[in-house]
């Protein structure tokens, strides 16, 4: 059918209207999901007491979330430290302050890169695995079967994963930072030849335990809560189909990553405002 210009205009208006409708629909949907998620997490918290009586379950989840993430965290930490050391040295050298590279590496890692990158990696590896496992259990009716056998699936399947993630995240972030500092040490002191003594002493005088390290740990705890909450909710809420589960897994990684970065800004602004 030949398109007159008037016809084309109507089609364009319809198209734009559709886009606006879809955006509004998606926004309302997101807010609604946020409410569902909060309700769900509240349920998880309420039923957590039952899961604490079964430490075996939590230990299993710590194994799958924490221990299995060890390799990626340690290796990535090492590489990030190596790069930080190299780049830091290269720039500081221009000001004659190479000995401050230890401070640079340590502060960057402990305050920011440790919690954030470890969080992103944790979301991609452990978070997506949690979502997939819960989603798959839902799709194959295992959660319904558990419910029919009078065992609450939230208490038995979801809550242990939730607490395991919160527990593992700060430990992984600390390991990341340590490996990063080691990487920085490797590349600057061992390879390039920056003075070892000033590397450590400048670092130690610049990094304050209460201010930098504790704040970094608090950050990683917050990230742990957010990542695990998102992962667990997406899994439980996933449509019980193959497409549904894969979509939920993707959403976990994307939403967690955005949440980490946004939360990082808020926490940094709050914590590192300046001392006085």
């Amino acid at each position: 059918m030949p398109m007159t210009s008037k016809f084309a205009g109507t089609a364009l208006i319809n198209h734009i209207t559709a886009i606006i409708q879809r955006t509004g629909h998606r926004t309302i949907d997101s807010i609604w999901r946020l409410g569902c998620a909060s309700h769900f997490i509240l349920l998880v918290l309420l039923k957590s007491m039952a899961s604490f009586a079964r430490p075996r379950l939590i230990i299993r989840e710590i194994y799958y979330a924490g221990v299995m993430s060890l390799v990626i965290i340690l290796v990535s930490g090492l590489f990030v430290g190596l790069v930080l050391g190299l780049q830091g040295y290269e720039t500081l050298q221009k000001f004659g302050s190479e000995s401050a590279v230890g401070t640079l590496v340590a502060l960057s890692l402990v305050r920011e890169l440790g919690p954030v990158i470890a969080g992103l990696l944790f979301a991609s590896r452990a978070g997506s695995a949690m979502t997939a496992e819960i989603g798959l259990m839902k799709a194959t009716e295992q959660l319904s079967a558990m419910g029919m056998m009078a065992v609450d699936p939230i208490a038995r399947v979801v809550a242990p994963k939730f607490w395991a993630g919160i527990f593992s995240m700060p430990l992984l972030a600390a390991m990341f930072s340590v490996m990063g500092v080691f990487g920085g040490y490797l590349v600057t002191v061992v390879v390039i030849g920056v003075d070892e003594g000033s590397f450590w002493s400048q670092m130690q005088s610049a990094v304050d335990f209460r201010y930098d390290i504790v704040n970094g740990v608090i950050k990683s705890c917050c990230f742990g809560v957010v990542i695990t909450a998102i992962a667990v909710f997406e899994g439980f809420d996933a449509p019980p189909t193959a497409v549904g589960v894969s979509g939920a897994t993707t959403r976990t990684v994307v939403t967690s990553s955005l949440a980490i970065l946004g939360l990082d800004f808020v926490l940094t602004a709050f914590m590192f405002r300046g001392v006085a």
Binding site: Y63, G66, L70, L171, A174, Q204, S205, V207, V275, A276
Partner: protein, 152 residues
Amino acid sequence: MQRTVMDFWVGVFVMIGIGALLILGMKVGNLTSYQSGDSYTLLGNFENIGGLKIRAPVKSAGVVVGRVTNIEFSLETYDAVVTLSISNRYRFPKDTFASILTSGLLGEQYIGLLPGGDEAMLENGERFMKTNPAVVLEEMIGRFLFDKAAGE
């Protein structure tokens, strides 16, 4: 309770995690040299504290002997009252100078103590008799220009 291989690896994981936190605290941070308790308080009035911040170090002869714990404005004397926490190991004479110095050219500001010759020592809660304010860049430039103009 039956032990499984999983328990072992989880134990290893937790050990490494705690170890990492300890390493961060000891080697990377300054937890070991952190002053806790065992300190006494001294006060100092300064005309201008410049960029001095709480937790800035207090040094004498370049060695850190304490920390700045509080900075306030006094309505009685209309200047800054700085509270210092000095380690119990170090006692200073009553006529010690307290100055606000800058480390390096553009570094952070700290309090430097120059001991006098008095035999009596400063006790907990006492005030420095003599203080030097921070050097404010604008005043220095102004003074420099004024001197130059006066010299011509």
